[in-house]
């Protein structure tokens, strides 16, 4: 059923539809509307879940960890500093193979403190053992939460999933969304049946000490599952399309006008809507440009990206994050995807834009295309204000 609805409100509604047993969260802008709505749904008995109001994100993640280990479906949401504060638990959840689903309302990180959108928070946790899927719009944000539970709870997977949606741009944005009907959700997402759980009828120990004789295999196993999950994402996407009639293809990337493209921007999240507009405009003028949108950042779809871009001569990677002291995060992966390969772009240039909520406008995207030339650039920032860089310092 189509509804004109705020992103956060829609996320709360879809979480309700997945019937989680335990929800725990700590408020942080711009995640708050999601958890406020869920609290209201529980208070009004519209959702039969335990809502645990914790004293920190560290405990929010710990509560859902404990509840998931006890065998129920769980949900949490956070952002920025909140994600950083729960980082230790985030890694722990993956290591314990618990199918936790979390929304990350993407936001800049301190200092300076800034509540506006970029993707530095979730990207900094890329090595945690969580799936990370990035939504372009709120229809996707809603649909990806259903995908997330299916994927996380798949017996072949048993790993946590982070659904990333740009803070404010999506969380507070109003869109018309085709909200999945409960009946279809039930069909797509069966009730969670844990492989193992804390149960006095069958006592097991979880979270044991693994010495050098045992530790490495646990990490290898997660890496293997991540690799294999590239295929599972396609399978789940196909089933999603069968039930809901929306086709996300392989759920790894979206190709937009790249068949004969000479210049392609690679990006992730809501900025791709803006890039598509520029691509359309340029195409109308006969320019061969396109967009490759990354949906799955973890696992990173190297092979899929190679296939998509092997015949494109110039690629611009647009990161809304920065790895201080190194190439930008997605740019690193892109260069790795083509290193030592027969085919591939002659130029993979890296651009950082939109940090701390600075608008990425149509003009910003034009600027990226303009700067994408035969000379490869790295460490290039878009929309910097030169007057702010001129500050002089005392002796």
């Amino acid at each position: 059923m189509k509804e004109f609805i705020e992103g956060s409100h829609a996320i709360a509604q879809i979480i309700k539809a997945t019937s989680p047993g335990v929800i725990s969260a700590y408020p942080i802008t711009p995640q708050t509307h999601i958890v406020e709505d869920l609290a209201k749904l529980v208070a009004n008995k519209e959702l039969n879940a335990q809502f645990v109001n914790v004293e920190s994100e560290h405990s929010a993640a710990s509560v859902v960890l404990g509840a998931s280990a006890t065998g129920v479906r769980v949900y949490t949401a956070t952002s920025s500093q909140g994600l950083f504060y729960m980082q230790e638990v985030v890694f722990n959840i993956a290591g314990m193979r618990l199918p936790v689903v979390m929304t990350c309302a993407n936001r800049a990180v301190s200092a300076p403190i800034n509540i506006w959108n970029d993707q530095q928070d979730s990207i900094s946790l890329r090595d945690a053992g969580w799936f990370q899927i990035y939504a372009e719009d709120n229809q996707e944000a809603v649909d990806f939460h259903l995908v997330a539970y299916r994927l996380a709870e798949d017996k072949r997977v048993m790993l946590p999933v982070m659904v990333c949606m740009d803070g404010f741009i999506l969380t507070h944005g109003m869109e018309t969304i085709d909200m999945p009907e409960q009946e279809k959700v039930n069909k797509f997402l069966p009730p969670y049946k844990p492989l193992y759980k804390l149960d006095t009828a069958y006592p097991i120990s979880m979270g044991l000490l693994a010495d050098p004789d045992y530790y490495m295999e646990t990490r290898f196993a997660i890496q293997e599952t991540m690799k294999e999950s590239i295929v599972y994402l396609s399978e789940i996407s196909k089933e999603f399309n069968t039930v809901f009639g929306r086709d996300y293809k392989d759920l790894l990337v979206e190709e937009y006008q790249i068949k004969d493209a000479e210049k392609v921007i690679v990006a992730m999240g809501s900025v791709c809507g803006t890039i598509k507009e520029v691509v359309d405009e340029q195409r109308a003028k006969g320019k061969k440009v396109g967009l490759l949108r990354i949906i799955s950042y973890r696992p990173f779809p190297y092979a899929r990206i190679y296939e998509a871009l092997k015949d494109v001569s110039k690629v611009a990677v647009l990161d809304k994050a920065v790895s201080l002291g190194a190439y930008a995060p997605i740019a690193v992966e892109m260069k790795a995807a083509f290193y030592g390969k027969k085919k591939g772009p002659k130029v993979i240039s890296s651009f950082v834009a939109g940090l701390g909520g600075r608008d990425i406008t149509l003009e910003s995207v034009h600027e990226v295309f303009r700067r994408l030339n035969t000379k490869e650039v790295n460490f290039d920032f878009i929309d910097l204000k030169p007057e702010l860089l001129k500050e002089e310092y005392g002796e």
Partner: protein
């Protein structure tokens, strides 16, 4: 002692470990219908080194400081599943993971009113990492990070009063216990789990390695801590002091001289006097002195 089905033999604790004995007493008192959530620490390490476990009940370890929060999630899940009434939840950890790094999670658990028993095994320092001082290390204790030296008598401050902090949350049950008084300890665990809501028991658990006493001295050393008034045993129900172990107080020196961690104090009457004052204050505060 006979083999226990809930805390089996074969763990790797040091000989004479007070925590191993206390942990076994706790789970035996709580019974098989219990889920245990354990902080990182000696107990976690010596009881669950993969691929072995001593636990005969469902048991989970996540991190150093979050057992109170993980247990909150376990409890919430049990409520959702309709199993809470038939299942006890115990969260446990050492003094550092409870009163220092885990204090926030513990406070959250108490404030939210979860039906959980939190057990703190207080061996008065970070023993698992090699005897560094914690907030619960006693005054003047020699540890690796509060060493006695030319201008120091060891740990600068008295123990952080975690039982009182818990009490201030207005929870139904707060007690202290000792590995040296096993029946008293078992009774308090049984009492605690019979009450609904958050409960806190802090158990003085000797560590032969960190306290530097012979491994066969666990019981007498533990008893002396209580008998000198340095580790008062009490219980509060709904904020009211309902029980205390009364003593014929012995001088603190008798306790101090049993352990290497206090050895540097033995020829210093001034410092011993300060420690005697701590004991005297406890004796007065909890009215510990046996009548007659």
């Amino acid at each position: 002692m006979e083999n226990s089905p809930l805390f089996r033999s074969g763990h790797t604790a040091c000989a004479g470990c007070g925590q191993a004995i206390a942990a076994r007493l706790v789970i035996e008192a709580a019974g098989a219908n219990t889920i245990v959530v354990n902080n990182t620490g000696c107990l976690e390490v010596f009881s669950t080194k993969y691929p072995e476990t001593v636990w005969g009940v469902p048991w989970i370890h996540s991190l150093f400081e979050n057992s109170a929060a993980v247990a909150s999630g376990v409890e919430a899940a049990l409520i959702y599943l309709g199993k809470k009434d038939s299942t006890n939840v115990i969260a446990q950890g050492g003094d550092g993971s409870t009163g220092d790094i885990g204090l926030q999670a513990l406070s959250g658990m108490l404030e939210r009113g979860h039906d959980i028993l939190y057990v703190c095994y207080d061996n008065e320092a970070y023993m698992n990492t090699g005897v560094q001082r914690s907030g619960l290390t006693p005054f003047d204790t020699n540890t690796t990070t509060s060493p006695a030296g030319a201008q120091s008598w060891g740990n600068l401050r008295p123990k952080k009063p975690i039982p009182e902090i818990c009490l201030a949350h207005g929870i139904p049950y707060v007690a202290t216990a000792s590995a040296g008084f096993p029946q008293d300890l078992s009774r308090k665990v049984k009492k605690a789990i019979s009450l609904k809501g958050p409960k806190y028991i802090q158990i003085h658990s000797s560590c032969p390695l960190g306290w530097r006493h012979e491994s066969n001295q666990m019981l007498p050393v533990s008893k002396l801590a209580v008998e000198t008034g340095l580790y008062p045993l009490f219980e509060y129900e709904n904020g009211v002091l309902t029980g205390r172990k009364q003593i014929a107080p012995k001088p603190v020196e008798e306790y101090l001289k049993t352990q290497g961690r206090f050895k540097h104090l033995l020829n210093n009457p001034e410092e011993i006097k300060k420690i005697q004052e701590i004991a005297d204050n406890n004796i007065k505060k909890y009215n510990l002195k046996l009548e007659g």
